[in-house]
Symmetry: C2
């Protein structure tokens, strides 16, 4: 994602994320440290960038959505910390650095994840430039998309399917929940911050789910064709773990076509917006060409 607007949003998010982590008032600093460690370890920040841009698209003022954008990234970060724990994926490294529990111990990592999830909702409730009705709707959407029939549900399916061959339908459901739901929350919360109408909110949701699926297909492709250095993680882990992926179901060429179809569908859904959709369109196309 190589353009000026993206960098501008990215910097804004990086500059503001830490302000939503409370200072420890009673000698329990390790928890804030652990939260900040994983928040500040970097990443593409695609989700919060989407939140800011959808708000911008709807009302011309991305700043209104900043608390929502940071909340989304906090939820994403908590999910990575908990996913890395020994009882889940047991990953020692994340983005080239020791994972949270390797750095702070399992108990603190568990609690840092809990705290990021908890304070994500403080962040949402602190959005001063958004109407009370939209804040409440944002709390509701964020919890639904992160919950049993969203991100957590996807993680449950992923665990359940480990080592099993799953059907293409099951693979789609798992990714829709595990990856798509939070991206949907990101886009919809941006719309809510901009006081979008119902049709705009629905279209943002469609864009998100298609973008999320394209993103996941490319992830599967990169696990086969990627460069370990550029990716920052070992390749070939999916086939090693005998995971059903788009590649194992369709092969590389067909998978690339599928990713492109999802991208076109994502872009199509933006037609209801009157303003300039170039950024969101370019972002979708850049995501399928990414190398990491």
């Amino acid at each position: 994602m190589n353009n000026e607007k993206y960098s501008f949003y990215l910097n804004l998010i990086n500059e503001n994320l830490s302000s939503y982590v409370p200072e420890s008032l009673n000698n329990q600093d390790v928890i804030s440290e652990a939260m900040l460690y994983s928040l500040n370890i970097g990443g593409k920040r695609i989700r919060p960038v989407l939140t800011l841009e959808f708000c911008n698209l709807v009302c011309g003022d991305y700043k209104k959505a900043l608390p929502f954008a940071c909340a989304i990234e906090m939820i994403h970060t908590y999910s990575l910390i908990h996913d890395d724990l020994p009882c889940m994926d047991n990953d020692d490294m994340r983005r080239g650095q020791p994972s949270n529990h390797k750095k702070f111990g399992e108990a603190n990592a568990l609690l840092a994840g809990d705290a990021l999830l908890t304070h994500a909702f403080s962040a949402v409730s602190s959005a001063n430039d958004v109407s009370p009705q939209s804040i409440i709707k944002a709390v509701s959407i964020l919890s639904e998309c992160s919950g049993v029939n969203g991100m957590i549900g996807g993680q449950v399916l992923d665990l359940k399917n480990e080592g099993k061959t799953v059907s293409s339908d099951e693979l789609l459901t798992t990714h829709t929940l595990k990856t798509g739901a939070l991206i949907k929350a990101a886009c919809v919360l941006g719309c809510l911050a901009g006081e979008a109408d119902k049709r705009q909110i629905e279209s943002a949701g469609l864009y998100a789910l298609n973008l999320g699926m394209a993103f996941q297909v490319v992830d599967d492709i990169l696990d086969v064709t990627g460069d370990e250095k550029t990716l920052g993680k070992p390749i070939g882990s999916d086939s090693e773990n005998e995971k059903t992926t788009f590649i194992s179901l369709y092969g590389i060429d067909k998978s690339y076509k599928i990713a492109k179809e999802y991208t076109l569908r994502a872009v199509d859904s933006l037609s209801v917006f009157d303003n300039d959709i170039t950024f969101l369109k370019d972002l979708a196309f850049q995501l399928i060409e990414r190398k990491s």
Copy 2:
């Protein structure tokens, strides 16, 4: 807690709690099952009862606070599930039943805790009979009281102090955060649901913190003097784990006096309320005479 009104509230909570656990739409039923298992395993339900009664005290209609009351119990339940995990207290039993991870495995227990925390905020956002401003305030208070400078912070201090002798100040801080903060959220959310004024909200907070401390002192006393059968858990674990408690600092008789002082302070703080405070007064006194 042996009276008709308490039983009425308790039944109302038990009848409604499950409705805030979403049905699994995609074959990930185990997560809902795991959430319901710990929610329905019982308990005194003191926190949500306080939420309902404070709402009743302020506006005469406890029903308005039901979504908030259930949210509080969901947060309490998530904290118990995560506390029992092997990387935390590693407890195999909870209320005489296998703890969540013993029943559903560590990964599902972790996710069930995450999901209860997540959907607690859905519950808050669903409070139809409460003003938007009070719902947003409730989200804010609930996350602050459950977060870094609340319940999670208390858990961090508790882990940090394991096996160490701590000062009475540190003991007070730990309990204020670990136990007091969520009881405070329970009382304050009840006030918010009833659209209380600032003075009432402050008094409810004071009642809660003093009640929470009395509760904790009695917990320490029961760990020495209690009956294992009535308690449903082994006694003597504090001294076995060389934990600093009110007993190790002050002995039994002085600790009982301290619990009584906190209770009197709790009751005193209710003087700003014009309506009948008998229930909250009796509840406070019954809590220090409890045997389990």
